[in-house]
Symmetry: none
Subunit: 220 residues, 2 copies
DNA sequence: GAGGCCCTCCCCCGTCAGAGGGAGGGGAAA
DNA sequence: TTTCCCCTCCCTCTGACGGGGGAGGGCCTC
């Protein structure tokens, strides 16, 4: 029996997936979660063998969930609306077995679930092309891996267009500390200034482009 | 009987919606379409009273469908993944009755369908706030049409991560001139600094995100 | 011709950003 | 324990950035 956990903030999507998967033999949907926090808890509690994971969620997004999964993790299939996203590569690097756009036919989703249970992958043509392009471009070196967690936080804020003192305020730091972090970020990323660092952060999917300037929580 | 047409390129979403709506009394799903062309044909052929319309679709998108609907149109409920989008306003202006994020609970979707059949609207709090904000101030930031051609050129270079003097060199200008252009760009876009301006440029597609840091023309 | 916008360059001036030091505390690994 | 890295804050200093102006020339429209 393949135990599946569905993680998606859209209720219609969860119901649709459950409806489809429950009709399949040998597949059992053991849980649904609308966000990342509950997903991590559900993984520990339910021990699913396969997790269908949405990338875009309020609060903790799919990438963060992937980062925080322990070593004893389920096989992860990422199911998302965005193909052109740089986060495809990031997700694969973080251990996702399959990366399917939501436009995928339901048969393929079922196929991916069965493949994932065996450690296999299902690749849509569009995704395959994107991955190949990334590999070909060489040195995809998820350059963000060199950053410490704190630096990644700072870069996230920086990629949203915030100034040093705004970042300091939002992270409850002195602005000198922020400057220190920014300096090492620039050095590690090999870029010249904060604008270039912001671009790298956006390219690596640290912040979705369309959320980049929206003041989260506080307003500008 | 409320005759519903579902338009969405995601099969899981269509199945989920059909599953939910078919369980409701007085509601009948008369058709599903994966794209805009077939949606327009289905509207003519099936005469639905309510249409659930996705914004993001390959080929003709939701806005275009709204534009091309004749006067004898079904009540339209837009169902999409994007809240922060300026397309919310555009869709409402084009006659959409309700604009629901896909995170909406299924009950609310059913409610919206029944309301739409009577010509009514269902507003999610997030969308309501967005519409109010839009109404309150005419144009938000991000409009590149206010820029002069030269300013757009400068913003393009800026969005690639270049400094003022690099921009000056690449456009054969004095750097004081570049500063003048940058200042009016910041003013017209309503942003605080060059990083935010770069983000706007990237969001507006002035530079494709994956070409942002590549030195233009030559590589690396 | 006069007014308007755009492009170009110039000035001053204050602030911010980034480089290059140092330094203390904590935690993990040797 | 020592060692190393991370996080935090501090200092100085330079140059870039960005907000005020102004000014001349080109082009179009009225």
């Amino acid at each position: 029996m393949i135990r599946v956990l569905i993680v998606d903030d859209h209720e219609v999507v969860r119901q649709g997936l459950r409806f489809v998967l429950d009709q399949e033999e040998g597949i059992e949907v053991v849980g649904e979660c609308p966000d990342g926090d509950r997903a991590l808890a559900a993984v520990r509690a339910l021990r699913p063998s396969v997790m269908l994971l949405d990338m875009v969620m309020p609060g903790m997004d799919g990438l963060e969930v992937l980062r925080r999964l322990g070593p004893d993790r389920p096989a992860v299939i990422v199911l998302t609306s965005f193909q052109e996203d740089e986060r495809v590569v990031a997700a694969v690097r973080l251990g996702a077995l399959s990366y399917l756009p939501k436009t995928t036919a339901v048969d393929r989703v079922v196929e991916a679930v069965r493949a994932a249970a065996r450690g296999g992958s299902v690749l849509e043509p569009g995704i395959a092309a994107l991955l190949l392009r990334q590999v070909r471009r060489g040195e995809p070196r998820g350059r963000l891996d060199a950053l410490t967690p704190r630096e990644r936080e700072v870069l996230t804020a920086l990629a949203k267009g915030r100034s040093n003192s705004e970042i300091a305020r939002s992270l409850s730091l002195g602005k000198e500390t922020v400057k220190t972090h920014v300096s090492s970020i620039l050095a590690k990323l090999g870029v010249a200034d904060r604008t270039q660092a912001a671009i790298v952060g956006l390219q690596q999917g640290l912040v979705p482009l369309d959320e980049a300037l929206e003041a989260d929580g506080s307003q500008r």
